[in-house]
């Protein structure tokens, strides 16, 4: 087990190298360099400053040399300085991480809390009205463009009924403190989380349902019934423990999806998180920040995959590393 984890960690580091080469390659692929593109037309930037910027982003060197010097900094945790915020990328990421983690974390927990029971329920009542309804909601959720769904929700609940705030994280100029602040923030999170959960829950729900159907027709479930176990226990113990195996493998693939979702949801609802900043960085050509952001997510994804591999061995006794 320990050996396996070490081996996987080494592979992850290798993959992370690959990711960085890919990202660096993309950022530096363009004809001409972006420093001159950005600075052209800006009177305040002198050729000297331009040169300094080139040096700062390793553009004065060849692609290989540039990459090596970038990598050297990156290993020491230095991803350069953001164009827009004039602050080290690392500190920006740390500063805006809580909002994104709160949004993504709450959504992930809710997604699982909804998708797993509903998927199991649908599988148990296959072909019933309940089953059809749940699956229909799942498919519509998958097909809904989140920005459109958000617009409809905003129109109905924020503008039409006026019960929920339209965007932002806190009510401006209200200066709440303590519990009132928490309640205010919670209120602001209702719509983003709803959009997030409903649009991404569907695929997990269907995954759980399909796996549950397969498990329910397995011989060992029949054995459990033949023992005289009550149906509730057959499902909760024998069937659920086996559907857990494919569910933990989802874990690794959930993280990239969560960050993609965060970018969209944060920008729609003007939440001050990593995703929203990344979007602003696009318009400002803030490539150092975008590089740092992507590397951060890639690292998280690899950790997630590793965790799900380890969990896999925990829930399935047949797997031994």
């Amino acid at each position: 087990m320990k050996q396996y984890i070490i081996k996987r960690l080494l592979i992850s580091i290798l993959v992370l190298f690959g990711v960085s080469i890919l990202l660096y390659g993309i950022a530096h692929m363009v004809p001409g360099d972006y420093v001159s593109n950005i600075s052209s037309g800006n009177q305040n930037i002198t050729p000297e400053m331009e040169q300094r910027m080139r040096e700062a982003y390793g553009l004065d060197k060849g692609p290989v040399e540039g990459y090596i010097s970038w990598l050297g900094d990156a290993i020491r945790g230095d991803f350069g300085t953001s164009f827009v915020y004039k602050e080290p990328v690392t500190s920006i990421i740390i500063k805006y991480m809580p909002a994104t983690l709160a949004l993504a974390g709450i959504s992930m927990v809710l997604e699982l809390l909804l998708a797993i029971p509903l998927g199991i329920l649908a599988a148990r009542r296959q072909y019933s009205f309940t089953d059809y309804t749940i699956v229909a909601i799942a498919i519509v959720g998958i097909s809904l463009p989140s920005f459109f769904f958000a617009a409809v929700l905003k129109r109905v609940f924020a503008i039409g009924l006026g019960v929920l705030p339209i965007s932002g994280m806190v009510t401006a100029r209200a200066n709440f403190t303590g519990f009132a602040l928490f309640a205010d923030m919670a209120k602001h999170f209702v719509l983003p989380v709803t959009v997030f959960v409903l649009t991404s829950m569907g695929s997990y729900l269907r995954y759980v349902r399909t796996n549950m159907l397969e498990v329910l027709s397995a011989d060992y479930v029949r054995t459990a019934r033949a023992k005289g176990l009550p149906e509730r226990k057959v499902i909760a113990k024998h069937a659920f423990r086996n559907t857990l195996i494919p569910i933990v493998t989802l874990f690794g693939s959930m993280i990239p999806a969560l960050f993609s979702g965060a970018v969209i949801t944060e920008s729609i609802f003007a939440l001050e998180g990593l995703g929203n900043i990344a979007l602003k960085a696009v318009y400002a050509g803030d490539i150092p920040y975008l590089m740092g952001f992507n590397m951060f997510i890639a690292a998280l994804t690899l950790i997630g995959t590793l965790v799900s591999d380890v969990l896999y061995a925990v829930v399935d006794p047949r797997v031994r590393y």
Binding site: I11, L14, V15, L16, G18, V19, L22, L23, I26, A27, V30, P31, G32, Y34, N37, I38, Q126, I139, V140, I142, S143, L144, P145, S146, F147, F148, A151, V152, K154, R155, I159, I166, T210, L213, E214, S253, P256, A257, F259, S260, V263, I264, S267, G275, A278, L279, A281, V282, Y283, G285, D286, I287, L290, M291, F293, N294, I297, A298, T301, L302
Partner: protein
Amino acid sequence: MEDLQERNQLEQDEFEQNQVILTPGQLVAKRFFRNKLACVGLGIIIVMILFCAIGPFISPYGEYEIFYINSTTGEEVRMKEDSVGGSDMGINVKAPISSAHWLGTDADGRDVMTRLMYGGRISLFVGIIVVAIELVIGVLMGGIAGYYGGAVDMIIMRLVEIFNSIPFIPLMLIISSVLFASGVKPQHKIFWIMGIMGVLYWAGVARLVRGQILSLRELEYMQAAEATGIRTSKKILKHLIPNVMPIIILIATMDIGGVILTESVLSYLGVGIAWPFASWGNMVDVVKQSVILKNYINIWLPPGICILLTVLAWNFIGDGMRDAFDPRMKR
């Protein structure tokens, strides 16, 4: 006694002849068309394609045509007419639904219905092209990895892992900013976006195809084919490809919906297809202006519904396909 037996034999023969034997393809088609939702999906897609392909020829207006209004008479004037230059002329923005503009005009005074048609062209086109690119790369890479195994497999799978550990939207942001910085023209951007999406999506396809080929290689009939000593090319053509085909068709149908959705998100975020071209995604992005969100539902609701319906339809078709190919796994 003898002729009784003979008669029985005849009956048996007749029974066997009456058994309609369908080819696998026919069986799949039959099962597909038995699925009501899949048929509905197919219907929606056909209607959408007709709407977007033929609609622009029927519509009297152009994609970027701007309408003006005579503020004194309230008369609408088309862009190409001479009277446009007059002093009392204003752009006919956010016009309500009327017989001239079935869905009104947008914030720039363009006909929403017509733009919906052009936008649909882009959305559907992007879906199909991106899936075609990802299939070509993915099937090739997955096929090589699965068939040859060993070191080649190792390298390709690590590549797949690299692509899988970068979430799509953030990666798209960095690419888009690079495109933006290097000054790609809007009319070329759409091709860039399609190409990039296709290249980025191959990893998922490759993994599925590789898995399928690996499991096929384990099956007895492949070993039997190997044992008969047929040529490699024949083995691939006759035994491998027909069995990988279902999963390729499945990926294709399942992914088109997803690609259309992603493209619309990119357009909405402003990193996809941009002005003046219409796409369903960038038609919805006017909701960023709260006045339009509140008062001009006719501008943003129709494109949103179009995306929803189209993606839903592709998902229905994908589901129908999966059931048709694999009747064991219902829905």
